[in-house]
């Protein structure tokens, strides 16, 4: 059996009260002895699609680069049994577009620590769509720096946390350039005994005039003993910016349940439908049929 190591991960940029247990997370993860690397690159002015899936239990170093004016689509898929540790580094060049579809459908007993760091140059665009199925522990730490003027990033996360699973999302976008734009969205469902922490930070640094950043989190609580923690943070040292964030946390409202009941749909069926819709929304972003099948099978949701 692999040796277990304790790692402190997902430290937030500006700490809050200790009693909230949000400043950092502790992941107990089996030691990973095998490493794998992948480089995905679109040369200047070209279009390319790449995909990579590390082997079961491999530590993966992934470099994705979209050079000036290029377009790169990257599918990163994880389906490990016991442990997974991808480390993704992204460079989006001037005027380039990169789309990353990051799917983690590890086994329910898997522990994953994922790190992602990205920099986006002038007029570059980075779109990340990601889905995390329930697992024993998923610790996601993503940092995007909008360093060039007019650069953009969107980070759309969806997840299902089922019995006994833990998900810790630490997502940060730093606005450095002028007129930069960011959007962080997160939608998911928590069932009994699951624990989820969302720590989203949008930071407007001095000089990021005209920047616009928004964060939205929607959490559907499907279990009486689910634990949800939400920390949407806005840090601002520039006057001419617009920053917004919103969060909604709860079960289906009484009005919504009544509506469903009036259509012959029980509360349990309604909750199941909403859970499925979270996965279905993500499936629409996945063009690969085989991957769609695997996600549907892993989550028990029909395609």
């Amino acid at each position: 059996m692999s040796e277990m190591t304790r790692k402190t991960v997902n430290r937030i940029p500006v700490p809050t009260w200790r009693f909230l247990n949000l400043n950092e997370a502790v992941a107990v993860i089996p030691e990973l002895s095998r490493e794998n690397s992948f480089i995905g690159m679109a040369d200047e002015g070209t279009e390319k699609t790449v995909s990579f899936e590390p082997g079961d239990g491999e530590r993966a170093n992934i470099e994705l680069t979209a050079e000036k004016g290029s377009k790169l689509t990257a599918y990163i898929t994880l389906q490990s049994t016991a442990a997974s540790a991808p480390d993704i580094n992204i460079i989006v060049g001037e005027g380039a577009v990169m789309r990353v579809v990051f799917t983690a459908i590890n086994s329910p007993v898997c522990v994953m620590t994922a790190k992602l760091g990205a920099s986006v140059e002038s007029k570059g665009t980075l779109e990340i769509e990601q889905f995390f199925a329930d697992s024993k522990g998923s610790f996601i730490d993503e940092n995007i720096a909008l360093i060039g003027d007019d650069s953009r990033a969107s980070l759309a996360t969806s997840y299902l946390c089922e019995k006994g699973s833990e998900l810790d999302l630490c997502l940060t976008v730093d606005h450095f350039g002028k007129r930069t734009e960011s959007e962080i969205t997160s939608s998911g469902a928590l069932e009994d005994d699951s624990v989820k922490s969302f720590k989203g930070t949008i930071a407007f640094h001095r000089g990021s005039e005209g920047a616009n950043g928004s964060e939205q989190e929607n959490v559907l609580l499907l279990g009486d003993s689910a634990v949800n923690r939400t920390l949407p943070v806005l840090l601002c040292e520039e006057e001419d910016v617009i920053g917004t964030h919103g969060a909604t946390v709860g079960d289906l409202s009484d009005d919504a349940l009544f509506y469903f009941a009036s259509r012959g749909i029980t509360a349990a069926q309604a909750r199941s439908m909403l859970k499925s819709s979270i996965v279905s929304s993500y499936l629409k972003t996945v063009e690969n049929s085989a991957l769609k099948e695997r996600i549907a099978e892993r989550t028990g949701v029909e395609r």
Partner: protein, 464 residues
């Protein structure tokens, strides 16, 4: 403390200093001997003396807070924790020494008492110098007195039962400091069924240079009652640090309402490390109204524990951080019973390099089924050298609840300024008007005189 960083506009009456004519001033610093001398000076009951000693041990063992503005400019070895003014407590303004009375006259306290208050407590440095309550209020069984007299009177047992139980010395380092050196403050008791139509007020004035104020306010509102309590504070500006580490503990009975309003206007050399906490029984309601305009550094997060079914809390606040200020403010609420609700609605403004941080926590415990919470925080940046952060946290332990949160950060719209200027206003007046409107969420909750004071403070800051 970097004296060059103490800049302030002319704050008129707030900055007038009385000469230092204290009767007694404790030497600066904090050790067992100082705490022992303080306890002797105050002729503490035994349990208070022991609380002070235990609190000092806790203070010495605890680290500084791990989040919030830095406190490197605060050196407790340079703070005198007790300054006794030359006057004992009076219940007639005529008996208060002239210079102290004139200070409170300039601040409008006696006038407000005559016109619109049910009772007033005025603290000067470490002790109350004036305390009075209208006969009509006393006849209803309302008690409003200085807390140190109450320690020895009819309510001694009740105070011993409640004192520093909501905010124990172990809560954080400055709660422990308060436990060790507290002095002055008020005790309020509102009997069952009594609804006080006009407010009570306490006003805290820290005149002494390099000193601390550590007043304790304990309010107990029994079932089916109502109270509005107003707290004001100010201090003249010095080029050394002053410290305020007061404590407020509020107990709200069944189906009662307690509104606690504060306009904080400490000078910009003050470290304001205040702790306020309320607990509400079944159907009880706590309303916080908070305006934070002063201090060099502030840590201020009134907290409410919704202990009874159907209890509720509303927090309305505004913070204005100007040059040399780092104000970390917000609110905390714990839903600890079913059917509870809370609303937090705050605004913050940053200008001239000021730093404003909104920090909140909404915690919904497992047994708080059908609870609802809403948080809204808007921040206004008035230039590109200031800073504004929002750090709101939500934690839920039950699936049967609903929480919503929204926040916005931005600047004054150029279109709004253009519109007002096209109506003949100067740009300066237009900005001041817009900012006053931005602060309206708080001003409309205050009695008129305090809303006027708050708007005056905003105008003073905007005219820099």
């Amino acid at each position: 403390m970097d004296t060059k960083s103490i800049t302030s506009i002319d704050r008129g009456v707030y900055d007038i200093r009385d000469s230092d004519n204290s009767r007694y001033r404790m030497k600066a610093g904090l050790d067992k001997e100082i705490v022992r001398r303080l306890s002797q000076e105050k002729n503490d009951p035994d349990w208070v003396r022991k609380l002070r000693e235990r609190s000092l041990e806790i203070y010495n063992s605890m680290p500084l807070p791990s989040c919030g503005p830095e406190l490197s400019g605060l050196d407790i070895d340079n703070i005198s924790t007790y300054v006794r003014p030359k006057s004992d407590m009076k219940n007639s303004w005529e008996e208060v020494p002239d210079d102290i009375k004139e200070t409170f006259e300039r601040l409008g306290i006696p006038k407000a008492e005559r016109q619109s208050l049910a009772g007033v407590g005025a603290q000067y440095d470490s002790e109350l110098v004036y305390h009075n309550v209208r006969d009509s209020v006393s006849k209803q069984g309302v008690v409003y007195t200085d807390i140190e007299s109450a320690l020895r009177g009819e309510y001694a047992d009740l105070i011993k039962e409640k004192f520093m139980k909501l905010v124990p010395p172990t809560d954080h380092k400055f709660a422990a400091l308060h436990g060790a050196v507290w002095s002055g403050g008020s005790f309020v008791y509102v009997p069952r069924g009594v609804k006080l139509d006009i407010p009570l007020q306490s006003y805290f004035r820290l005149n002494a240079k390099g000193a601390g104020q550590f007043e304790h306010t304990l309010i107990i509102v029994e079932d089916d009652a109502y109270l509005h309590f107003i707290e004001g504070c100010s201090a003249p500006k010095y080029n050394v640090a002053n410290l305020h580490a007061g404590c407020v503990e509020l107990y709200v009975g069944r189906n009662s309402v307690l509104r606690y309003s504060t306009i904080e206007n400490w000078s910009k050399n003050m470290y304001n490390l205040n702790t306020k906490r309320a607990v509400a029984d079944e159907g009880g309601r706590v309303e916080w109204v908070s305006g934070s305009f002063g201090s060099h550094v502030s840590y201020l997060y009134p907290m409410t524990i919704l202990k009874g079914r159907g209890s509720s809390m509303e927090f309305t606040g505004i913070t204005f951080a100007g040059e040399g200020q780092n104000l970390d403010t917000g609110a905390k609420v714990v839903h600890a019973a079913p059917d509870t609700s809370s609303v937090i609605n705050t605004r913050s403004i940053s200008k001239d390099g000021g730093i404003s941080t909104f920090r909140s926590a909404v915690v919904i415990q497992k047994n708080a089924e059908n609870s609802r919470a809403g948080v809204s925080c808007d921040s206004l940046m008035l230039d590109d050298i200031s800073r504004s952060d929002t750090i709101p946290a939500i934690e839920t332990h039950t699936g049967k609840c609903a929480v919503g949160h929204e926040a916005r950060i931005g600047r004054i719209s150029d279109d709004d300024i253009f519109y007002l200027m096209s109506r003949g206003m100067s740009e300066e007046d237009a900005r001041a008007l817009i900012v006053s409107g931005f602060a309206q969420n708080v001003s409309k909750e205050l009695p008129l005189e305090y809303a006027v004071e708050m708007n005056n403070l905003i105008r003073l800051e905007m005219k820099r």
